[in-house]
């Protein structure tokens, strides 16, 4: 059994070696849950590097769908959420889980589809009209079906269009934005996507933007605003509320807003900062239908 002993000693040595690499971080840390659509662009790496240096706090990012991001916050597992689904954010605020909401930035959704455009929606100005045509022609549409911000928006657009999507032309993938785009491309299906993910994947997809969002002067219904909310310290006193507020301050400061506005992927601007405003915009602090 002696060689066995050697194996064990070797394992312990290796273990020690890898542990060395993991020096303990300082006192606090900031845990953010956000959506894959923001994280995958790389914007947060940029922002967090500056923030981490300024405040000496490591920032940990959990990238999931908006539904999951808010759920993790509700359970007290993060300090802050950065998401894009206003109704879900409002519910989060009304439940008392989150406080101090701010608008941070926006980008937009675009409706993409195969180059041969079987439903003939290319160039339409209204996304609602385009969705109606897709339904009428029974052209394939691949929904994410994952309770993400994009999925929630897609559902509300079908509602506005007055169409109930149905089999066999309407399908759900249950995937994140990138995977869903790849699948839609392979299936020759239409789908709704945020512009950022589409741009970063564009070269690999056989999909074209057929209905534009507001970033390119298209349908305002495709606007995609991102909000930041701190987890309520009255509910979870040991969460890092102070640093969460510092992070909100940083994101909404002229410096943070400048970083967001100057951020480019493949030479294209992905986010438009919207936190700075001379006029008060009270609606960002409370649920949209809030009355005293």
């Amino acid at each position: 059994m002696r060689p066995m002993k050697r194996v064990v000693v070797l394992a312990v040595c290796l273990w020690g070696l890898f542990s060395l690499g993991q020096v303990a971080w300082g006192v606090g840390e900031l845990v953010i849950s956000t959506t894959t659509s923001v994280y995958d662009t790389g914007l947060l790496d940029l922002l967090n590097a500056v923030f981490g240096e300024r405040f000496g706090v490591p920032v940990k990012v959990i990238a999931v769908g908006t539904g999951a991001a808010l759920r993790l916050a509700r359970e007290g597992n993060v300090d802050l959420v950065l998401v894009h689904a206003r109704e879900a954010e409002d519910e989060f605020l009304r439940g008392g889980w989150g406080i101090n909401r701010r608008d941070v930035m926006y980008n937009d959704f675009v409706l993409v589809g195969p180059p041969d455009d079987p439903a003939g929606i290319g160039g339409l100005e209204s996304v609602v009209e385009a969705l109606r045509r897709i339904a009428e022609r029974g052209a394939r549409f691949l929904s994410r079906g994952d309770d993400s911000g994009t999925h929630k928006r897609e559902i509300s657009l079908w509602e506005v269009a007055g169409v109930t999507p149905s089999a066999p032309w309407y399908m759900e993938s249950g995937k994140g934005q990138g995977d869903n785009l790849v699948q839609a491309s392979l299936m020759g299906a239409y789908t709704l996507t945020d512009r950022g993910t589409f741009i970063s994947l564009r070269e690999r997809l056989e999909l074209l933007v057929l209905v534009e969002g507001p970033l390119n002067g298209g349908d305002p219904l495709l606007m995609n605003p991102y909000g930041v909310i701190a987890v309520n310290p009255a509910v979870y006193p040991d969460r890092n509320y102070v640093m969460a507020m510092a992070y909100i301050g940083f994101l909404t400061s002229p410096e943070g807003q400048r970083i967001i506005g100057e951020f480019r992927v493949h030479g294209e601007r992905l986010f438009v900062p919207m936190a700075l405003s001379r006029e008060p915009r009270f609606e960002q602090y409370v649920p949209q239908d809030w009355r005293r």
Partner: protein
């Protein structure tokens, strides 16, 4: 679509240049899976020996449970561990969610049944005559058990390799309880090879994803080569 060749060359250049991101991701992978293995193997060996050689009521039921555990999806294990470690869950006060420790816990739960199951079949497969011969030669109960385990050592090695393979290639549970965290300086905290592959695929960096996959396969392959050498040289 990316060419396999460019992925291979990227994998090669990442390994040769000791890419710091790659190193830290590999480090977390090995550390988490290795630690899970160090904890699971003794437990599994004990349970497998008891179930294989012991005679007690409920033994068959336990065996069935072990075999069922081998087939539990990693996402389910991850979800249960997530709920247990969640701040509002029963062990939330420990603050273990989003840490490598949480990943070790979920991997232990995941691989212990697998290792136990393979060890069990190795123990059961040992010829009865060996145990009886040991008895005839005047061996004590413990000595008989050790004799059987010694006979089953190749099966045990297979069990350890299978356990490590499942741990390091698993993505569902480590993604859920670890959170796939990397710091802005490119140092991984809870990002493993597999979860890095998920991120790169989602970003459309298919070559990088494939390159990471190749690194993963190389690691598992070299481990198996070492193991099979140990076996052939009979040093084990």
């Amino acid at each position: 679509m990316p060419s396999l060749l460019s992925a291979v060359s990227q994998a090669f250049s990442m390994i040769v240049s000791l890419d710091s991101y790659l190193l830290s991701v590999v480090g977390v992978s090995l550390k988490v899976s290795g630690m899970a293995l160090l904890i699971s193997v003794p437990v599994s060996a004990l349970v497998a020996s008891l179930l294989g050689l012991g005679r007690f009521p409920g033994r068959n039921l336990l065996r069935t449970l072990v075999n069922t555990g081998m087939g539990v999806p990693s996402v389910i294990v991850g979800l249960v561990v997530l709920l247990l470690l969640s701040r509002s869950g029963p062990f939330g006060g420990l603050g273990l969610l989003w840490t490598p420790t949480a990943m070790v816990i979920s991997q232990c739960v995941l691989i212990t049944p697998l290792i136990t199951g393979v060890m069990l079949s190795a123990v059961v497969g040992v010829d009865r005559a060996i145990s009886e011969a040991a008895h005839a030669l005047g061996a004590s109960r413990l000595q008989r058990v050790l004799t059987v385990i010694r006979e089953a050592r190749f099966g045990f090695l297979t069990a350890v390799l299978a356990g490590f393979g499942r741990a390091i290639s698993e993505v569902g549970s480590v993604l859920l309880v670890g959170g796939n965290i990397v710091f802005p300086n490119g140092v991984s905290y809870t990002r493993t090879l597999t979860t890095a592959i998920v991120v790169e695929t989602r970003k459309g960096q298919f070559e990088t994803a494939l390159a990471l996959g190749i690194v993963l396969i190389v690691i598992v392959l070299s481990l198996n080569l070492v193991a099979s050498r140990l076996q052939r040289r009979g040093t084990l």
